[in-house]
Symmetry: C2
Amino acid sequence: MLKYQQIAGEIEKYIEENELKQGSKLPVIESLMKQYRVSKSTITKTLELLEKKGIIFQVRGSGIFVRRQKRKGYISLLSNQGFKKDLEDYILTSKIIELDVRKPSEEVALHLNMDLNEDVYYVKRIRYINGQTLCLEESYYNKAIITYLNKEIVSESIFHYITEALGLKVGFSDVYLLVDKLNEEEASYLGLEKNSPKLLVESLFHLTNGQPFDFSKVTYNYQQSQFFIQANSLFF
Amino acid sequence: MLKYQQIAGEIEKYIEENELKQGSKLPVIESLMKQYRVSKSTITKTLELLEKKGIIFQVRGSGIFVRRQKRKGYISLLSNQGFKKDLEDYILTSKIIELDVRKPSEEVALHLNMDLNEDVYYVKRIRYINGQTLCLEESYYNKAIITYLNKEIVSESIFHYITEALGLKVGFSDVYLLVDKLNEEEASYLGLEKNSPKLLVESLFHLTNGQPFDFSKVTYNYQQSQFFIQANSLFF
DNA sequence: TAGTGGTCTAGACCACCCA
DNA sequence: GGGTGGTCTAGACCACTAT
């Protein structure tokens, strides 16, 4: 474990356990250096990480402060494939509809940088949150990278399996959001009426080396579609 | 202008001008250090910035590579209040429906950390993209911070005015996404039928010192709701 | 003007990828 | 094993905030 990750974890834990509110002041860099016996750059790296995660914000000439989102019960759009509902208790289950190996469509081949005659794993499942339909998910995995999948793996967290069992490292993803109306099939899977609103989230996941390995289309039940994103400046 | 920002800008420009594709290899850190006559840390900082912006990705032991999104014509969800449509030509206009000073509702006061008897600027406008309705926007600005607004400012880029004319620095924002059906009023403003899908984006913008100054509710025309986000690991 | 975070340097060493 | 990015150090100096 790297020092700056270690320290970031401890600070995060400290904030959680003491239930610090938005705007609470944290110790200054000088103190943190002494407390953890590391250099200033390491603390800076630590704080950068916490800032990226939306846990703190830093103000030059003033200090380091806790950042908290105002609303509870929203799903973080950028965490593991769209989950990790903050604090709140919830039960996530899923039902597998299809799981097979097939040839990619042109669209899928294009996204995954594959030839049309290579193989992909296709997974179609419904996910439930506290017993209600959350989303209909269709995923395509490059079989050359994700060499094996079965029903058991797919019914649990696929990403956990990919990182732990296969030892692959997920790097970055491109996420596309579209809003439209449910077609008949989607509506029946989600238990909604045809033409109800839907949020379609298409994600393309890459390994750290830049290889795309998973293209997913997730259609959300609009009644459960409450997402949040913590954005940093960068763009202003 | 800071060195690492300067260099990042030049590298970004270089990528744009040469239309480098996803996966193109950039010079190694050593070369960049020599080329720009700076230390390794500065180049590292530069590359971190470009990575955060989704312009490159780095692979340990291998090199630095160009990252590009696969699709055109999507709106970046995390840039200035939701715009900056990539490359594509488009014309953004807006029509002001209301602009006044008023007392905040409880919801608004809560988000902006204000008392109910303080003043907010209220702006309601429709935004058009290439002549079609893009969204209906309602914004509340803390008048103690955003001291003055008029129709002219509001019909242009409000954020440009805030940063340039008022000299304020925007720090971070919390973004909440919800999907629902249009009510009668929204439908008529957007020129859609009642009960059509809508994407509601509620954003809370803070200054660099953590003060919230703008709470906005933006209802998007679902036919124009094509957003993308470039996400980095952090969460895997 | 004291305190605090941000930038930058020069250099050592480590972890990972690839031929 | 050679090349490449990532971490970490110690220290100098700068820019902004608060009082």
